[in-house]
Symmetry: C2
Subunit: 153 residues, 2 copies
Amino acid sequence: MTETDFKVTPIGFVNRKDDGIYLELFQEYRPALQQLEHFSHMHVLWCSDKHDNIKSKKSIQCTPPYGENPPVTGVFATRAEYRPNPIGLTIVEILKINHEKGLIKIKNIDAFDTTPILDLKAYFPVCDRVKEAKIPKWISGWPDWFPDDGFGL
Amino acid sequence: MTETDFKVTPIGFVNRKDDGIYLELFQEYRPALQQLEHFSHMHVLWCSDKHDNIKSKKSIQCTPPYGENPPVTGVFATRAEYRPNPIGLTIVEILKINHEKGLIKIKNIDAFDTTPILDLKAYFPVCDRVKEAKIPKWISGWPDWFPDDGFGL
């Protein structure tokens, strides 16, 4: 039940190029990509560095800008980028991996160019796909599945 | 494309009590739980504090202890707790929330007692449920869905 802080280190960054969106990994982390090309999707943990400040970290309730008559909502019941630890979590579709250059071409992500990446985790249906997931009434009209185009900015 | 480290602060910890498993939040973060009781599941980001050391952070490939003839695999293609940033990600089923005491009773989690928690994120099918997710041949026999009992130790 430690309250000690931890240090996290970027493993790479979002690189929005003319021909698509890439996650670019620093050299020392590239061997950790081995076999990832056999998965279609992964979770990206990224640092919402624009919200790495006291004001954003203290913004722990909001009225979401979506849904029907959304109530005042705690940030743990949202995916807002401002939260006590500004770590974003987005599932992305993997298009191509260049292991040597540490470049992963992805279909989409809702993170800005140069956003620091903290971790990648392959998407395992057995861990990540919940059959009966209940959501609140005020967003009950939302789709049941991750969209083909993913989530972008 | 910063390589600057970030600081993350535990918001609470895993509390394994006689009557079940709880996530216990420190007082200042409890208002962030508002409305979370309307979701059945959430992601828990936790710090694998036993692996917050140089040796574990440099262990970036492994031969997974599961599947059929697993190849040498980068940790980003696994859910191993040892990785460059030792952040665990587990989906849990929410059983009950006591907002005043900051206690969330959950069905299961694969994190030890007293494990620091970094973030909670409600599970939104539109963000998190991928219909066609491909996985490697060597784990192709695995279930397609998150199990009713969740993931425990």
